[in-house]
C-alpha cells in the first residue's frame, strides 16, 4: 500500500485537526463554561503516610465565595473505591481505594478535602483555611525493604500485592553448564507523565442525568467504570472527551478527581469544574516505570542465548489504579524481545509503597523490558569481545523464520530485523564511527565516543480480548467504527478510538477516502463523546489504527456492499454485474456506467426506487476483535560524545529505522517517532521523580523535574523498512510507543559504550552529568580528585564470567 496519485493512504497529509488546535479555537475541558458553574479545589496530604486525626472545615465553610466544603467522612458513604480492572492473580491484594482519604493517607498528594466555590481563587483561598491534623506514620519508600518482615505496612494486608510468573523451557538446564552467565540489576526510575494539557473535569447534572467532560483518553471505559463505582445507571451518564492535549497513558485512568467531581455535582445539584495545576498534577497524576530488574542470561561461548531469567520488583505506589498491576505483565512477554532461546522464566512482585500510584506510561511495561534485554545484550557482546550488532544477529529471528512463536508464547507474524539493521547501519555510518571511537580511545581523548544499539520489538495493538481475558484483564480489546452516509455524499465516521493528539481525524479520513472513493475533505471523524460514539475501547497501547482502523475498514466494506445493491437498482443491472473500481460501483465490462457512493447516498436518501426489502440507509458499523497483537520493530542507533572531565553527554547523531508495516500518513508517523524518541531520551538523560526520606516528592515542579525541549536533542534521521503485518487488512502495526521503547536503551548503551574503557558497565538512569562523572571516577580513581561524597550511582563491576 504505497502512495500513488489516486490513493490517500500513504500521503503525508497535514493534519485536518491542527487548524483548530493551533489557533486556539477548540474547546479544551478547562474552557467549558456553564451557567452556575462552580469550581472545585482539593486539599492534598503533605505527608507520605499518616493517620488523619481531625479535620476542621469551619473556617473554610464561612470563607467568601465558598459554596461547600467536604472531608472524606462526608463522602465516605457514596464515594466507593477507585477501580482496578486488572487483578493479575487470584490472590492479588487490591486494597480499598477511596477517592478522598477518610482515615489514613498513603502518599503525599492524596486528597483529604474538597472546596466548592464560586471561582478558583476563592476555592484556593479556602483550602488554606482547612485545618487537618495528622499523626505521622512511617513512610515506606524502598521496595526491597518494604518486603522485609518488620517493615511498616502501607496497608493492613501487607506490602506485597501479588507475584506473577511465567516459565517456558528448562531454565535450570539452560544455565547449568552455560559457558557464559551474566547477571545484572537495572533500575527503572520513576517517571511523571507530563501531558501538555493538565487534567481537568467538568460535570453537569440535569435531573438524574450527568454529563462529564474530562481530559481523558478513555471516555467509554470511564463511563462504564463511573457507573460501577458510583451506582449511577450507565444510561444516565454521558462522558465527553473534547480535544485532549496529550495523555501518554496518564489519562488512561479513572481518577479520584473525576469520581469526586461527579459526586459533588450530584450532591450540590449544580455543575462543577476542576482543573489541576502542574505542581498538583506532578504529585497526583499516576506515575510510570519504577521497577528494579534483576536479569540473568545464559549463553554459549559464541554468544548464542540459552536462557533468560528475570525477577522484577514493581512499585505499585500506594494503591492499585485501573491497570497498575498489569503494566509489568505487558513487559513479561517482551524481555525475550527478538531473540531465540530455549528457556525463559519471569517473575514479578508488585510492591506497595507510600508513593503516588503508578500505572501505564507510554510503552507501559515494554520500555522497561526492552531496556533490560538490550542493555544486557550489550553486556554480553562486551564480555565476548563481539560487536553489539553481531551478538544480536547471532540470536535474532531470521526473516524467513516468520511467523515465529517466541519463548514467551507470542506468535510474531512478520519482521525483518536484518533489513532494518542494515539500513540503520548504513545511515548511521556505523563502521566509520567505530573507527573514530577506537582512535579516540587510543589517544585517551578527553571526549569519548559511544555507540548505542537498540534492536527493539514490541507487542501493541492491544486486543485480543481472549488473550487479555486469559491474563485476567477485566475488559476486552475490540474496537468499534461506524459510517454515516449523508445525503450529499459527505461521510461521518464514528470511531471508538478516542484520539488525544494522535491525528485520528486525518488518518481515518485518508482510509475512508480510499475505501469509499470520496474526497479526503468530505470525511468528518467524530469521536470522544459517548452519546455520539456510543461504543469503544479508546486509545492506548498503540491500538487505534491496528484495531480501530481495522473496524473502520470493515464498516466501509459493509457500506460498499449495501451500496452495491442500490447502485444495481439505479443502473438496472444485477448486483453481481457490478465491480468496485476507481472508487465507485461500475458495470463490469462497461466502465462508463457507474455510480459513486455520493450518488448512491442521495438515491438512498430519496428512497424512491429502492428494491423491495432494501432499507433506505447505507449506514453501517463494525466491531473488530483481532486474534493477535501486532509487532512493530526497528533498529535505533545512537552516537554520544561524553566529556570525561565533566560527565556531559551530547547526543551527536541518532538514526531510527522502524518497521511499522504499512504507513497511512508518513508525516504523522514521523511526528510520533520524534516525540516518542525524545520521551525515551528523557528517561535516559533527564527525568526522575525523586522523593526525599520522608516521602515528599521533591520534583514537584518543572523547575526540578527536567523535561527536554527541542534545544536538548539532535535532529533525528528517520527511515523505514516496510514489512506489512499479515494480521489486519491495512497491514499496519502501530507506532505510538515505538520511539519511546526503542530510544532509552539506545542512549544508555551508547553512554556505557563510551565508558567501557574506564571499566564502567552501567550508569543509573537518568544518566546525569554527575552520575556519568562519578561512574568514570569510581571506576578509575585518580589521586588528584576530591573523593565523592556519596557512593556511585550504580556502577557495577562486570559480573560476567565463565560458570
Amino acid at each position: 500500500m504505497t502512495a500513488t496519485a489516486d490513493h490517500e493512504v500513504g500521503r503525508a497529509r497535514t493534519r485536518k485537526e491542527d487548524a483548530r488546535l493551533v489557533t486556539g479555537q477548540t474547546s479544551w475541558t478547562d474552557n467549558i463554561m456553564l451557567p452556575g458553574l462552580a469550581q472545585v479545589a482539593f486539599l492534598r496530604s503533605p505527608h507520605a503516610h499518616a493517620r488523619i486525626t481531625s479535620v476542621n472545615l469551619d473556617a473554610a465553610r464561612t470563607a467568601p465565595g465558598v459554596i461547600a466544603v467536604f472531608a472524606g467522612a462526608d463522602v465516605a458513604a457514596e464515594q466507593g473505591s477507585l477501580p482496578c480492572a486488572w487483578p493479575v492473580t487470584e490472590d492479588i491484594v487490591i486494597p480499598n481505594h477511596p477517592p478522598m482519604a477518610v482515615e489514613t493517607v498513603r502518599y503525599a498528594g492524596e486528597i483529604v478535602a474538597a472546596v466548592v466555590a464560586r471561582d478558583r481563587y476563592a476555592a484556593a483561598d479556602a483550602l488554606e483555611l482547612i485545618d487537618v491534623e495528622y499523626e505521622p506514620l512511617p513512610p515506606v519508600l524502598d521496595m526491597p525493604a518494604a518486603l522485609e518482615p518488620g517493615s511498616p505496612k502501607v496497608h493492613a494486608e501487607g506490602n506485597k500485592s501479588y507475584t506473577w510468573s511465567l516459565a517456558n523451557g528448562d531454565l535450570d538446564a539452560a544455565f547449568a553448564d552455560a559457558p557464559v552467565v551474566i547477571e545484572r540489576t537495572y533500575r527503572q526510575q520513576r517517571l511523571i507523565p507530563e501531558a501538555m494539557e493538565p487534567r481537568a473535569v467538568v460535570v453537569a447534572p440535569v435531573a438524574d442525568e450527568f454529563t462529564m467532560w474530562s481530559s481523558t483518553q478513555i471516555p467509554h471505559v470511564l463511563k462504564v467504570m463511573l457507573a460501577l463505582v458510583t451506582g449511577i445507571p450507565e444510561h444516565k451518564l454521558r462522558v465527553i472527551a473534547p480535544d485532549v492535549g496529550g495523555g501518554f497513558g496518564s489519562k488512561l485512568q479513572v481518577t479520584a478527581e473525576e469520581v469526586l467531581a461527579l459526586i459533588l455535582a450530584r450532591r450540590l445539584g449544580r455543575p462543577v469544574k476542576w482543573t489541576e495545576s502542574r505542581t498538583e498534577g506532578n504529585a497526583a497524576v499516576h506515575h510510570g516505570r519504577d521497577q528494579i530488574q534483576k536479569i540473568r542470561i545464559a549463553a554459549d561461548a559464541d554468544g548464542t542465548l540459552r536462557g533468560l531469567d528475570v525477577d522484577l520488583l514493581a512499585d505499585m505506589g500506594a494503591y492499585l489504579m485501573i491497570v497498575t498491576p498489569g503494566v509489568p505483565l505487558l513487559g513479561a512477554f517482551m524481555f525475550n524481545a527478538i531473540y531465540k532461546m530455549a528457556a525463559y522464566r519471569f517473575n514479578c512482585t508488585g510492591v506497595f509503597t507510600t508513593k503516588t500510584p503508578t500505572d501505564a506510561y507510554r510503552g507501559a511495561g515494554r520500555p522497561e523490558a526492552t531496556y533490560a534485554i538490550e542493555h544486557i545484550m550489550d553486556d554480553l557482546a562486551f564480555h565476548l569481545g563481539l560487536d553489539p550488532l553481531e551478538v544480536r544477529e547471532r540470536n535474532w529471528i531470521k526473516h524467513e523464520e516468520f511467523p515465529y512463536t517466541t519463548i514467551s508464547g507470542l506468535t510474531y507474524d512478520t519482521g525483518n530485523y536484518e533489513a532494518a539493521t542494515a539500513l540503520a547501519k548504513d545511515l548511521f555510518q556505523y563502521e566509520e564511527l567505530r573507527k573514530e571511537q577506537s582512535e579516540r580511545n587510543a589517544a585517551s581523548a578527553q571526549v569519548r565516543l559511544g555507540l548505542g544499539v537498540s534492536t527493539y520489538t514490541e507487542m501493541c495493538g492491544l486486543a485480543p480480548s481472549r488473550v487479555l481475558g486469559s491474563l485476567r484483564y477485566a475488559a476486552g480489546g475490540w474496537e468499534h467504527a461506524a459510517i454515516r452516509m449523508l445525503p450529499t455524499g459527505m461521510v461521518e465516521v464514528i470511531t471508538g478510538s478516542s484520539a488525544h493528539g494522535q491525528g485520528h481525524e486525518t488518518a481515518w479520513s485518508q482510509i475512508v477516502a480510499d475505501e469509499l472513493g470520496v474526497p479526503f475533505e468530505d470525511v468528518r471523524v467524530l469521536h470522544g463523546d459517548t452519546a455520539i460514539s456510543h461504543k469503544g475501547m479508546d486509545t492506548y497501547g498503540s491500538r487505534s489504527l491496528v484495531v480501530g482502523g481495522t473496524a473502520l475498514v470493515s464498516a466501509c466494506g459493509k457500506v460498499r456492499e449495501k451500496a452495491r445493491v442500490i447502485a444495481a437498482a439505479m443502473m438496472e443491472v444485477a448486483p453481481t454485474d457490478l465491480e468496485w473500481a476507481d472508487g465507485r460501483w461500475a458495470v463490469r465490462g462497461d466502465p462508463d456506467q457507474g455510480k459513486t457512493i455520493g450518488e448512491i447516498a442521495f438515491a438512498t436518501f430519496a428512497a424512491h426506487d429502492l428494491p423491495d426489502g432494501v432499507e433506505p440507509s447505507l449506514d453501517c458499523d463494525a466491531t473488530i476483535d483481532p486474534d493477535n497483537f501486532s509487532y512493530p520493530h526497528g533498529t535505533h542507533l545512537c552516537a554520544v560524545e561524553v566529556d570525561t572531565e565533566t560527565g556531559w553527554v551530547k547526543i551527536r547523531s541518532y538514526v531510527a529505522v522502524d518497521d511499522i508495516g504499512n504507513v497511512i500518513n508518513p508525516l504523522i508517523v514521523d511526528g510520533q517517532l520524534h516525540g516518542g524518541i525524545v520521551q525515551g531520551i528523557a528517561q535516559a538523560l533527564f527525568e526522575e521523580a525523586a522523593y526525599d526520606d520522608s516521602g515528599n516528592l521533591v520534583t514537584a515542579s518543572l523547575a526540578d523535574y527536567l523535561i527536554p525541549s527541542a534545544a536538548d536533542v539532535p535532529s533525528f534521521t528517520l527511515a523505514r523498512t516496510q514489512t506489512p503485518s499479515t494480521l489486519n487488512p491495512l497491514g499496519v502495526k502501530g507506532v505510538g510507543e515505538a520511539g519511546t521503547i526503542a530510544s532509552t536503551p539506545a542512549v544508555v548503551n551508547a553512554i556505557v559504550d563510551a565508558l567501557r574503557p574506564f571499566g564502567v558497565t552501567d550508569v543509573a538512569m537518568p544518566c546525569t552529568p554527575e552520575r556519568v562523572w562519578r561512574a568514570i571516577n569510581n571506576a578509575l580513581p585518580s589521586p588528584g580528585e576530591t573523593p565523592p561524597l556519596q557512593p556511585p550511582a550504580q556502577n557495577q563491576v562486570d559480573g560476567g564470567g565463565a560458570a
Binding site: 572531565e645 565533566t646 525523586a690 552529568p769 562519578r774 561524597l789
Partner: protein
C-alpha cells in the same frame, strides 16, 4: 495562576513607586514577573501590594555614560542580547543573557528583576560581579550606589532596604585587550546553571595581565574566584596555564548540595569550567 489576592499599582515615576513601596511593608516590586509569578503561583509569597514598574519609561534602555554603560533596570534579557552598546562594551552581559531560560522568559525578564531576586543560580548576578558593575538603588532618601558584593547578602536576599528599588546597573566599559566568556553548565537548555563561570581576561604580550571571575551557584551569593584570578594574573596565555590557575577556582566557595549536584561535583565543575572560560576569555 491562582495566587492569593493582592492590590496592584502601576506608578508612573520612580518617586511614586518608592512612595508606594515605603507605605506597605508587605509590598513587592514586579517588573517582568519571571521570578515573582512562580512564587505567587505556588503561594510561596503573599504580598499585599504589587508595585508594577512597567509604566516607568526612564527605567528602560541602555545609555552611554562615558566610561560606563547605564543600563535601566527594566531592560529585558532579550534587549541585553541585542543592544549595540552592550555588544561593544559589555559583551559578557549579552552572552550570558542569551543563556537564560528560553525566549519567552528572555522577552519578559529584566536585569533589575534578575539581580533583585538574588538567586545565586541565576546568571546575571555572577556576571555583574565579574564586570565590577555598580548597582544604583533609589529609596525614600534618594539614590545610593552599591557594589555587587555589597548588594547580594544571602540566598534570595539583597541589602535593599524597605522602599528601595534597584533602578539601574552601571557597567564599566571593557577597555582594549579584554576578552570574556560565560561558561554555563546546565542539564537542559531551560534549566538553571549547576555551575556557571563568568570570566574576563585582559591579555597583554602573550600573557594574561588581569582576570576577573564570577561564579554562579557556588554559594548563597555570587562569588569572585579571587585565588584563581590571582593565579591567572601574569600567567602565560596558554590553556595549560589557565587550567592551572583554575585549580584554585573553588577556593573560598561553599557550594550547595541539592537535587542537581553534590557540592564536591560543583567544586570540580568550577575548576574545570573556570579553566575553559579563562582560556576562551583570553582568546586561547
Amino acid at each position: 495562576m491562582i495566587p492569593a489576592s493582592f492590590d496592584y499599582t502601576r506608578p508612573g515615576s520612580v518617586e511614586a513607586a518608592v512612595e508606594a513601596l515605603a507605605a506597605d511593608e508587605e509590598a513587592k516590586v514586579i517588573a517582568g514577573g519571571q521570578s515573582l509569578l512562580p512564587l505567587l503561583r505556588l503561594r510561596f509569597a503573599y504580598p499585599t501590594l504589587l508595585v508594577d514598574l512597567g509604566g516607568i519609561s526612564e527605567l528602560r534602555g541602555v545609555r552611554d555614560a562615558g566610561d560606563a554603560l547605564e543600563i535601566g533596570a527594566l531592560t529585558t534579557h532579550y534587549e541585553l542580547t541585542r543592544d549595540p552598546l552592550i555588544a561593544a562594551h559589555a559583551g559578557l552581559l549579552a552572552q550570558a543573557a542569551g543563556t537564560i531560560a528560553d525566549p519567552a522568559v528572555r522577552h519578559r525578564g529584566t536585569i533589575g528583576g534578575a539581580l533583585s531576586h538574588a538567586d545565586p543560580a541565576g546568571d546575571l548576578p555572577a556576571v555583574v560581579t565579574a564586570l565590577e558593575a555598580v548597582l544604583v538603588v533609589t529609596g525614600p532618601g534618594g539614590s545610593r550606589e552599591v557594589s555587587p558584593a555589597g548588594f547580594f547578602a544571602d540566598y534570595l536576599t539583597t541589602t535593599l532596604a524597605p522602599g528601595e528599588i534597584l533602578t539601574s546597573v552601571r557597567v564599566p566599559k571593557l577597555g582594549d585587550g579584554w576578552g570574556y566568556h560565560y561558561e554555563k553548565f546546565h542539564p537542559t537548555a531551560q534549566a538553571w546553571a549547576i555551575v556557571g563561570v563568568a570570566a574576563l581576561a585582559r591579555r597583554s604580550n602573550g600573557h594574561v595581565a588581569e582576570a576577573r571571575i564570577g561564579l554562579t551557584n557556588m554559594g548563597s551569593t555570587p562569588v569572585r574566584a579571587g585565588a584563581a584570578e590571582a593565579a591567572a594574573a601574569g600567567a602565560e596565555a596558554s590553556a595549560a596555564a589557565m587550567r592551572a590557575a583554575a585549580q584554585r577556582a573553588d577556593e573560598g566557595t561553599s557550594p550547595p548540595s541539592d537535587l542537581r549536584a553534590a557540592a564536591d561535583y560543583r567544586r570540580h565543575l568550577a575548576r574545570v569550567l573556570t579553566g575553559r572560560a579563562l582560556a576562551r576569555a583570553a582568546g586561547i
